[in-house]
């Protein structure tokens, strides 16, 4: 590459910052540069080109007023001076579009968003190839740096006692869900169609009538339909085409910014995939599968590619596999198994397909998720064992806060299930909510700001145990309105609060979070991803500073957790403690679920 003499001239009264940046880039690449000050005429610039014997000229123009006439005159003068044959002339700036530059006769036009590298490539007569620095290459394991050491030994001892009781209780118990999970595994692993059919017949006997009628008579639930074979093959082509042109943005500005998950579950796995690919392109690091609420109250799963017209996408092996196959290799994928009558099977299907994460919490699932405490406890132990087998970390979500359960009670339940997870070889992730919960609405901890109480939660958990924290779900819950600007801003500020507090992951909503009259849109997902990226850029390594209330409330929470755990130990039974409301009472707004009541079996 030959060394070039480049004249940089702002054809503008004041603006020249872009040229200053390009000058630096050119000098770093070994070129000679001459930067003229702003506010020179076309004639003065032409004279400077001649006097300096420049090889290349870069003109900038920021102001749009009269741009075509001014630049047209410049090119005419360059032509008249005999410069066009030997001097390469490029034009750039806010007022420039490549089409205009070409029309006027410039060798290149650089509009807004042009990089220094692009201008250097022009000077060096080579094709500009965009840098791939924003492209993600690897999945992040947010549990990798944690040893799960308990700083609060009193709490650890109480948790161990409770976990001993749980494991002792479930040791001779089973459920139809656990049996179905093993049958599902055999169906997936078998290579013989006749053997698969035999397992399916056994499976159907363990299901509710609506699922049984699917296996026995091919009947679909209302508002559901199988996706056609041409839709399935069209999806494959669509995903392939989209993947070939993916250049994903990066949300994080610094290495302290958490990984960002979005939640999907439009009802249709193919619309989900379309949304997921859009979110990947706009920088989402992970995606979370939302299943329909009726699925949690039904014994058994369907099979095949199935769509339906309500919120939540149906869990089938085929639906989840099509979603998994559409994901970029660096995208984290979570399938929830935190409530309902199919939690072990959910983890088996997710694990066999290759999910990265799952979600399990007995306290939430049975107090706010509608599942019977005893049933969910037995199922969850099996589900955690599968999660450990498939090396899937699981978050322990505390969404019972949204029903009115105070944070300290929800955290006590979360810590019990986390300790249970550790005992069973799993990797739990704490999931406190960043939300405007009924507790704070009543007690006023968020009257002044949304920062302190959320910060208190993180301080409290860090005081207790060295464990990964993933704030959910989604962050900012109940602070967002139907106004997409307000909604996106609330999400972004909560994201930066989470980043300030050094958490590992966050789940964000779309800007449609508070909109409930129809399906959310792809565009609304991009709103909050964009806002989160901007907020990460704004704060960088700088932090938000909570007031003194945060530490005070963190201490109160820790004391509250300890008292709740003491009461559970005193009660003698974790399951009974759930029924009795020790981890969230009817007065708080938590009701032990009824789905699966009296369905636990004693092993033969």
């Amino acid at each position: 590459m030959s060394r070039k003499k480049v004249l940089l001239a702002p054809l503008d009264p004041v603006h020249d910052i872009g040229l200053k940046m390009i000058k630096r880039g050119l000098e770093q690449n070994g070129h000679d540069t001459i930067l003229m000050p702003p506010d020179h005429t076309q004639e003065e610039i032409i004279k400077a080109i001649i006097d300096n014997k420049a090889d290349v000229v870069l003109i900038s123009r920021t102001l749009g007023y009269g741009v075509a006439e001014i630049l047209g005159k410049f090119i005419d003068l360059a032509e008249a001076a005999g410069l066009r044959d030997r001097v390469k002339i490029g034009i750039g700036g806010m007022a420039i579009r490549p089409e205009l530059a070409a029309e006027l006769g410039f060798d290149a036009g650089f509009g807004p968003g042009t990089t220094v590298e692009e201008a250097v490539a022009f000077v060096e007569d080579r094709e500009y190839i965009p840098a791939e620095t924003g492209v993600k290459q690897e999945k992040k394991d947010i549990t990798a740096d944690y040893k799960y050491d308990f700083n609060n030994k009193r709490i650890e001892k109480l948790l161990d006692t409770i976990v001993d009781g749980i494991l002792d209780y479930v040791s001779d118990k089973t459920t139809t869900a656990i049996m179905r999970a093993e049958l599902r595994r055999q169906i997936i692993e078998s290579t013989s169609e006749s053997e698969k059919d035999k397992f399916r017949r056994e499976y159907a006997k363990l299901c509710d009538d609506v699922v049984k009628s699917f296996y026995e008579a091919g009947k679909y639930r209302e508002k559901t339909r199988p996706l056609s074979s041409d839709e399935v093959s069209a999806l494959s082509k669509y995903v392939g085409d989209v993947n070939s042109r993916m250049r994903p943005m990066k949300l994080q500005h610094t290495d302290k910014n958490p990984v960002v998950f979005i939640q999907y579950g439009t009802g249709c796995p193919f619309m989900d995939i379309a949304h997921i690919k859009s979110c990947e392109a706009w920088g989402a690091d992970g995606v979370i599968h939302f299943d329909p609420s009726w699925g949690a109250r039904t014994e058994g799963f369907l099979e095949g590619y199935i769509t339906h017209e309500e919120d939540g996408s149906i869990i089938t092996y085929e639906n989840l596999k099509s979603i998994k196959e559409s994901l970029a290799p660096y995208t984290l994928w979570q399938v929830r198994a935190h409530r309902g009558l199919n939690t072990p099977e959910t983890v088996v299907i997710a694990g066999k397909i290759g999910a990265d994460l799952t979600k399990i919490n007995i306290a939430y699932g049975s107090l706010s998720g509608g599942t019977d405490p005893e049933r969910l406890t037995v199922d969850a132990v099996a589900a955690i064992k599968y999660a450990a087998e498939f090396s899937m970390p699981f978050d322990v979500v505390t969404n019972e806060e949204l029903s009115g359960v105070p944070a300290y009670k929800a955290f006590a339940g979360m810590l019990i299930v986390s300790k249970l997870g550790l005992r069973l070889g799993g990797k739990p992730i704490l999931q406190p909510l960043f939300c405007y919960s009924p507790e704070v609405m009543i007690n006023g901890q968020m009257e002044d700001n949304y920062v302190d109480f959320n910060a208190a939660k993180i301080y409290c958990l860090r005081n207790i145990v060295n464990a990964p924290i993933w704030c959910g779900a989604p962050i900012g819950f109940l602070t967002q309105t139907e106004d997409r600007v307000q909604s996106s801003l609330m999400t972004a500020l909560h994201a930066s609060l989470a980043s300030s507090l050094g958490v590992d992951g966050i789940s964000i909503a779309s800007s449609d979070e508070a909109f409930s009259k129809g399906p959310i849109t792809a565009a609304s997902r991009i709103d909050t991803l964009r806002a989160t990226q901007a907020s990460f850029r704004f704060f960088g390594h700088a932090n938000m500073e909570p007031t003194e209330n945060a530490k005070k409330w963190a201490e109160e929470m820790e004391e509250g957790i300890e008292k709740v755990l003491e009461s559970v130990v005193k009660n003698g039974s974790f399951i009974d403690a759930l029924y009795q409301g020790l981890l969230g009472s009817r007065e708080d707004g938590a009701y032990p679920g009824r789905a699966g009541r009296n369905s636990v079996l004693t092993k033969a």
Partner: protein, 77 residues
């Protein structure tokens, strides 16, 4: 439906500011506007009236989950 609307992944949002006297009138105008523009499946996502008029965001669904999406079959995607 025109071909270009088949390129919409799910819905078209229309945001504007309507000169009107109150929120009730804003809602009426918004629905009229969406109908005039030819949207069949319309909902109002956001509406807030202050002083001279209302900030609105209306949505016309082109596809809802469970529909057959034309863009999925478009070979030029």
């Amino acid at each position: 439906m025109s071909d270009i609307l088949e390129k919409v992944m799910d819905a078209v949002d229309l945001e504007t500011y309507l000169v009107c006297k109150d929120e009730e009138e804003a809602e009426k105008f918004t629905l009229e506007l969406m109908e005039k523009l030819g949207f069949k499946d319309t909902t109002i996502v956001f509406i807030q009236h202050q002083g001279p008029g209302a900030r609105i965001r209306a949505r016309g669904y082109i596809y809802k989950p469970g529909d057959r999406y034309s863009w999925l079959f478009d070979q030029s995607n």
